[in-house]
Each structure stands twice: as C-alpha cells, then as structure tokens.
Symmetry: C2
Subunit: 199 residues, 2 copies
C-alpha cells in the first residue's frame, strides 16, 4: 500500500533532522510546501543552498560572515584591547543590538557540558588562547549564558586566562529592566543588592 | 553594522513563512543548517525541490501522489460504492493505518471556517458532488475532524448529499482504547453509553 509518496517521505526525513522538528511537524511542513506554488518552494530550496555557499564562519572570531575575516574583526573603529567571549553567533547579535559594546568578539560554538560529551576540545577554546597569546587583548568579557553549563565554561576560561595577565570580567547580574521586584527570584535580588551602585 | 549576512537573512525569511515557525526558530534552524556539512544542506534543498517536481494532488480524490490518478483511486481491490471524506491527506494516512477501510477517499483540503474566511468554494466540495453524481457511490463516510469546523463541515455535506439518495455516515464516538474511564470527558461517555453494543 502506497501511503506517502517517495519524494514526500524523503523531505520528511530531511526536515526531521532539524532541531526541534519531529516526524509529525516535518509531515505538516512538507504538506505545506506541497500546497504552496512552485516558486515559493524553490525560493526556500535556493535560500538553503545559497546560505551554505555564501556564509561561512570567520576564521578569527568564528562568527558567521560572507567575507573572511568578518566585518566585526576588520572594523577599524572597534577596540582591539577588549574581547567578548560568547557561546553562539546569536549572542553576538544580542550584544550588538544593545549598542553597549565596541570591542571584538570570540564565538565558542557551545558550552562545556560533560553530560552531553562536550569538552574543551569541542569548543573554539584553543583558537581563543592563540588570540590572547598575541598580547593585544587587555580584558576578556565572558558573556556565556547564566545556566550551569555557561557558568562552568566561564569559570573554566577564567582559570585559563587569568595566568596570562589579562583582566577577566563577567556580565553583571541584577534586576532586569521593567521588572516587578516582587516577582524577581531571591538569588537575583541578592546579586542586585551586593552589586548596588551610587545614584 | 552588518549583523546577519544577507544569505542568512534570506533563509530566515523563507523559513519563517512555514507554519508554526517564527523568526527566532527560523534563525535557530538556519544556524543549524549553517553548521551542518554542505551535503546535508543540499539534501534538504533537493528534497524540497524534488517533492514539488514529483508529488502532485490526485485529480480524482485530491490525495497526494506521484501518479495521477493515485494508487488509492486505481486499486481494483477497493470498494467503489464506499467513499470516505476527510479534511487532509494526513487523515487518509490515519485511516489507512487502521486497516479498517477498503473504499475510496476524497480529500477536502480543509474544513468550513467562516471566521478564517474559508467557505465551501475553498474546499473540494464541487469535485465531491461531481463524483457522487456519477451514481456509483452508495455510502459517504464523513470523517472530518470532531472539532467545531469539522462537525459543521460534516453537517453541511450531509445536507447536500442526502438528497442524492446516498447513505451518509459518520465515524463513531466512544471511549478511546486503553482509556481510564475516570478521566474520559462526560460528553464522550454520554456518546459511548448511547452507542453501547451487545457483547
């Protein structure tokens, strides 16, 4: 009994390799694609191919880019003494959107997670140390996430970087803007009180 | 400031056209594709293109197929007197998996939903009536969903089909297999009691 057609099955298999997409969602997406005009489906297929052909990771900071090194690495208006270490390219975006940072970046592409079998060799840590050894960077801002893996990664990196005589900083903890104090968890309030500032 | 690369942006736009995929999910998927080997990304792009090239909707029952008419319409072992009407191609799959039905199918491609602007002309209802007018079908099994839209569609179709002298049936309501009676909603229990059968 023919149930799905071979080409439908094949797309479902390919789509369900994507993170967070199971077989049912993949079938729903494939059906949607089947219903759209041919041009729409081709636009999606071309966009996938084009992304792979044009966009790479920068060989210096490992952020994605169409030129290597990337514009963030070659921009003369940025401070070479300051290096911000993040887990993922999206984190570079988040910091850039805040318009609060004008140094360079280094993307680790993950965080230390022994339970998932991700150790230091799976991240861009060697490349980070190579960059630091060149002696230009005076301060490393560790902007890994504030979950267990991110904190562990920050601690691990701090212990590697401090012996090089480089200042190591971390993003400040505190009350997020627009929060109702009543609903902020006590650990965050604790950090906010300890880190209180003169008005 | 270059943030995402143009090819990355383009894929995010294309992916976020898919149902249930917002911009953040699209960015996550695009990043995943960027990280995979070129072959994997090409396999996905090719699968999309191939699906559109090879798979169409059957001109008779509107289920998807690589041949027209589809194997379900041309299978000589199926009963021409019985026609099952469903909302979506996935519903054909669900009924086929149950191995309980050996008649033909008709896929409406949706259900009546005035609030979403979906009326009878947006569904394959004219084609259904054309098929019924040929006089072969003796019974129409309405297997639209059991939500408000599906029930309304079934009612609408029943009123159109009964005057043609064709028997109209609906899937039975009752307790799903493996259920704990305590947790079944009262409307379903009500249907199950009314539809009770001799053992």
């Amino acid at each position: 009994m023919v149930k799905f057609t071979p080409s439908f099955n094949r797309l479902v298999v390919e789509l369900s390799k994507l993170p967070g997409i199971g077989r049912k969602t993949a079938a729903r997406l494939a059906l949607y694609i089947l219903r759209r005009p041919l041009d729409d489906a081709c636009a999606l297929a071309d966009a996938i191919r084009e992304l792979k052909e044009r966009t790479r990771f920068c060989s210096r900071c490992f952020h994605f880019t169409e030129e290597d090194p990337c514009p963030l690495c070659t921009d003369m208006g940025r401070d070479d003494h300051l290096l911000c270490v993040v887990e993922e390219p999206q984190d570079v975006m988040a910091i850039e959107r805040s318009r609060s940072y004008r140094g360079r970046y280094h993307v680790l592409h993950g965080s230390l997670s022994p339970l998932d079998g991700i150790g230091p060799d799976d991240l861009k840590i060697d490349a980070l140390l190579d960059r630091l050894q060149q002696g230009t960077v005076k301060e490393v801002l560790l902007a890994t996430n504030f979950d267990v893996e991110g904190e562990a990664t920050a601690l691990y990196l701090a212990n590697l970087i401090r012996p090089l005589g480089i200042r190591v900083t971390r993003l400040a903890h505190g009350i997020p803007l627009g929060s109702d104090l009543e609903y902020v968890d006590e650990a965050t309030v604790n950090h906010a009180v300890e880190g209180r500032r003169e008005l």
